[in-house]
Symmetry: C2
Subunit: 338 residues, 2 copies
Amino acid sequence: MTNQNRQWILARRPVGEIKDGDLVFRNDPIPTPGRGEVVVKTEWLSLDPTNRLWMSDIPQYMPPVALGAPMRGIFCGTVIKSASDSIAEGAVVMGLGTWSDYAVTPAAMVSVVPEIPGVPRKDVFGQLFLVGPTAYFGLLDIGAPKIGETLVVSGAAGAVGSITGQLGRAWGCKTVGIAGGKDKCAALTRDYGFDHAIDYKSENVAARLKQICPEGVDIYFDNVGGETLNTLLMQMNLFGRIVQCGMISVYDADGAGAAPSNYPMILMQRLKVQGFIVTDYAARYPESFRALAKLRLEGKMNWQYHDIVGLENADNAVRMLFKGQNTGKLIVKVADPA
Amino acid sequence: MTNQNRQWILARRPVGEIKDGDLVFRNDPIPTPGRGEVVVKTEWLSLDPTNRLWMSDIPQYMPPVALGAPMRGIFCGTVIKSASDSIAEGAVVMGLGTWSDYAVTPAAMVSVVPEIPGVPRKDVFGQLFLVGPTAYFGLLDIGAPKIGETLVVSGAAGAVGSITGQLGRAWGCKTVGIAGGKDKCAALTRDYGFDHAIDYKSENVAARLKQICPEGVDIYFDNVGGETLNTLLMQMNLFGRIVQCGMISVYDADGAGAAPSNYPMILMQRLKVQGFIVTDYAARYPESFRALAKLRLEGKMNWQYHDIVGLENADNAVRMLFKGQNTGKLIVKVADPA
């Protein structure tokens, strides 16, 4: 079969953890683009916590993936067929596609990968594209950090969390990272410049925070939700800001554990809690690209990958995110560039 | 006993509803002011939901009232003794005092009642002083209303809620008020200009909101918390704002029912939720006084009182707030001006 296009299809909405059979791996013909669409030969696939959300049908920020459709993913590759006026064949693009060797997607869902001097294409896609702006705009626009303030980041060893911590440091904050396990916590202070690390698996987060941050917390950048969020609500200073970036602890749980009993502290401490999705900031991406590239080239921005090889491994790999098994940005190499 | 100073003393922290004996009524000597303090002969006492919070020892925005101390209250009266350089004897002041015939309080906790042309002193104290700025700054600064947006207010027949609705209308919003009972809901549309009223006691709030606001809700001004907040979280439009002004439904419950299970909608809909206390805006009160007085003099701002006569009735009267029994600003006439 020369016309091979392996794809992961969402066969069933996961209940709790993703299980075998929720996604099925299938061979389909290489698609032809409809009007305004492009077909992209996938080079890399990014695996992200939000993928789990898209598999569910709980209320969310874009339509869930339809049952029987290819799984939606953030990807990068070369346009091999274009029926769009805006993107030509041969263009290297990144954006929203599917978990496929050859993905068909509206041209409006992708953009040409910009050339950024000194930054390899893998980093432009894997770190600068969505991960970087998520950390950058969430912290800058919602967190509004001031020099000398205390920033706590959960999911701190993850792709977004590790960049958030380094941005907080660059902007003059004291930074505290929360992650699960000794190795990740070691990485927080060693690789990502956090002033302190808290291991939520072996330490009492509330007690450690009181010890490390007797001055209280000004900004909480929340990637996890659930119990950690509830704990932080009790530690926030007057007029503190909670950047509600993600709630990975509740995506698998279909909403259970999502209700923070300390919610009234929002009133008592006059907190601002604000949710955001990085695509809200699409018009300003170049600003974050420039800032992050500058820090990177100055040696002030570290990032890492957890590399997976082969589209066939995407299903098992995405589950690592919810078990805290990846270290660094989880990315799947699907094929060499076209 | 010429030296009579009747006072309500917090004898016991209420568990659930305020009960007889939580507050005790006692005769004490008229106090003498310490350095920087004034003694005020109370004319009016304002009864407010936040009083219940001050009686408890849950974490809150100022220290709880100490057991054995006079109950804290928002009051208005004449300074009969001053040991302060900033406030003279004879000044008519309003601010934080106690539930006493003669209250001793730091001069910094009170301010001279401003003369506002055309607005009687009772209104300056009862409506413009704290109620008005709460509605005004909460809606303006956090709600950030735009013409044509939809504003939902809970506790809408209450002192803050009724002004909030009228400000929303003045600023070009569609206004929906939620209150308990037929009479209050009739008042919402008849007296306070709300476009629609929802009776949470006899109607399904979610279903009625979907019917009245198929366009969704842009601003939710929350005075009640609890189940109504949880319902509204599911109705908010993208980038909606929740003004977290009060949570009267949970003050009596010592935190139970305060956890909104729909919290993740803050992320999904990119909501901003912000708590505030009116005193955060003290420096800007004159702005709200001017705005509200202007609307009042133009006949565009209605308000009402629920008048109680006699300090001895304050204990029973404050309980009305939590049973939804007051209609309009609940205020106690303690004595004629000194």
